[in-house]
Subunit: 334 residues, 2 copies
């Protein structure tokens, strides 16, 4: 029998589970370090720097959207958490919780996409797990990816290195991912040409992580740029001052947000870096980023002596306090 | 406002998500290596042996059952995958996908249980992630745990080391976890006093992993002992011969399985070890296990020159082929 949909028996540890693992997961993600018969995978420990670990769950709805899907998103998300910590990605583990009834062809596409994204970043999948939950107990599929990486010796990053006068940069337009996912949900009844920015930021972080003036990097995912700004202010005790005029937001993103009442500054990006850098090295960072393909990299603000708050200088010359995110603007965005 | 249930806003990256992480996850799982503000956690790389990695998703229903809950189960499961690989657990990451409406008090108990289980095994939580999915899109909570461990130099285990004549051992009664979870589901309308065997098997594996005659260990979770036997036969090309007379199965487990038509050999254990060992060291392994508290450790069979199949010598003197698991006997058992 050829299976077209995932059944509960694909999760039972028996014949069909082996078929699922062999025909989809091992076929796409196979590499010399992946042995699906092992309980735990032996791997060389990263050396020549500091080992770093990160984990993330992914529940985005719909599973496929313009510019990406939950498979590549789950890989990019974990790569990016390692990348903004100044690290190179080494090992990836993948746990899939699959809802009974998911189409075999969809799962195949998602895992193929996952494989492409990890291969592109030089990251190998070393361990995995699959579970199947009964229909009505999951949103098609949830992935959890865990990444192990290596931060090379000499890379020094951390919020505690931030000083008054530092510059705040972003590597491209904000709100693309959130808007693309929003438009992909039929319930909104809108059509648009916005693509998710889901991508590895590793080329960007690698190009600047050794600069002495680089203080801190983060990828503005859930909660968006405004949430990163709020956290920077809260943790450093400084005032984060953003200039609306300089903030890169696509016209189509701005238009959709205006119609639906969203603020793009609070919507998720999945392929951008926010960096804090000594003012005299801001241009150098921007140059490296542009050279790496992030052509809309921009200086968007500064950090100043307190109070701890995040301010937006509006185009009209006023000031608006960027409050901490309260209600969820858009659930299941990543 | 004091929250009694998880809402979507607890997953948005803003104020309530920070409260969730601080008030529950960081409060219970806190340790010097856990910094919830970081994208990726720097940790010392394991040295003095081989680094190993494992990951597992947990979707058990109900979330709490006699003898355990999904929190401690998720920790024990990952510890045990490292343990049967001959390793010591070092680092744990935790990803929680929470369904809107989960009681705050339940989540608090589950994470406290998780903390107790990891602390008992000397494993520290170094990174985590929380997501919230809308009501109807998850079974209360799903956990994915990833473990990094160290297999000390000199520990040599693997199916390729198995030889004809080797002995097969199990560290205690089988089918307890599966039966306990089954009874905890109201839908079955049965009551019983069976407790899950959910526990760390680390004391057992540590006590024997340096023995020269120890070939291979595995924890018989999904698919149970029969699935491990089937896999051993399939991978080694040998006949696995089990003696029903010697198989430890509790009276209450056997009784429930007879009423409901389950075979305890196919039901999950979550605190047992199956080991293949050179025949002349079987007694030594059993002695170490009994000394470590596994009083019902038993020699249950042998591996013989092919054909590749798994046979049960019944109490009545017949032989029964243990087929590969086909349909799922009991979904969402782990």
């Amino acid at each position: 029998m050829f299976d077209t949909h995932i059944s509960l028996a694909h999760g039972n540890g028996g014949r069909l589970m082996k078929a699922l693992i062999t025909d989809i997961f091992a076929r796409h993600l196979g590499n010399p370090l992946l042995d699906t018969r092992l309980d735990a995978a032996p791997v060389p420990a990263p050396t020549g720097g500091e080992m770093v670990i990160t984990t993330d769950g992914f529940t985005v709805q719909p599973l496929e959207f313009p510019g990406g899907d939950i498979g590549s998103l789950a890989v990019h998300g974990t790569i990016n958490d390692l990348a903004v910590a100044g690290a190179d990605p080494w090992y990836l583990t993948v746990s899939a919780i699959i809802e009974e009834g998911l189409e075999w062809a969809v799962l195949d596409r998602l895992v193929a996409s996952m494989a492409g994204a990890s291969r592109a970043a030089g990251m190998v999948v070393v361990a995995g797990d699959t579970k199947v939950v009964p229909r009505g107990n999951g949103g098609g599929i949830y992935f959890t990816t865990t990444g192990v990486g290596l931060r090379p010796s000499g890379v020094m990053l951390g919020m505690e290195r931030i000083r008054p006068g530092d510059a705040l940069l972003v590597s491209g337009p904000v709100g693309d991912h959130g808007t693309a996912v929003l438009l992909a949900r039929e319930s909104f009844g809108l059509r648009g040409d916005v693509q998710s920015d889901s991508a590895s930021v590793l080329p960007l972080t690698r190009s600047v992580r050794q600069l002495s003036g680089l203080r801190f990097m983060r990828d503005p995912t859930r909660g968006g740029l405004a949430t990163v700004a709020h956290e920077l202010a809260h943790m450093t005790g400084l005032t984060v001052r953003l200039r609306e005029h300089d903030l890169p937001v696509r016209y189509s993103v701005r238009a959709v947000c205006e119609i639906l009442g969203y603020d793009p500054l609070y919507l998720a990006c999945e392929g951008r870096v926010v960096a804090v850098v000594a003012a005299d090295q801001a241009d150098e960072v921007l140059r490296h980023w542009v050279d790496s393909g992030a052509e809309q990299s921009t200086l968007i603000g500064t950090l100043e002596t307190g109070p701890a708050r995040s301010l937006l200088e509006t185009i009209l010359g006023g000031e608006r306090l960027l409050e901490e995110l309260e209600e969820d603007p858009l659930p299941r965005i990543c």
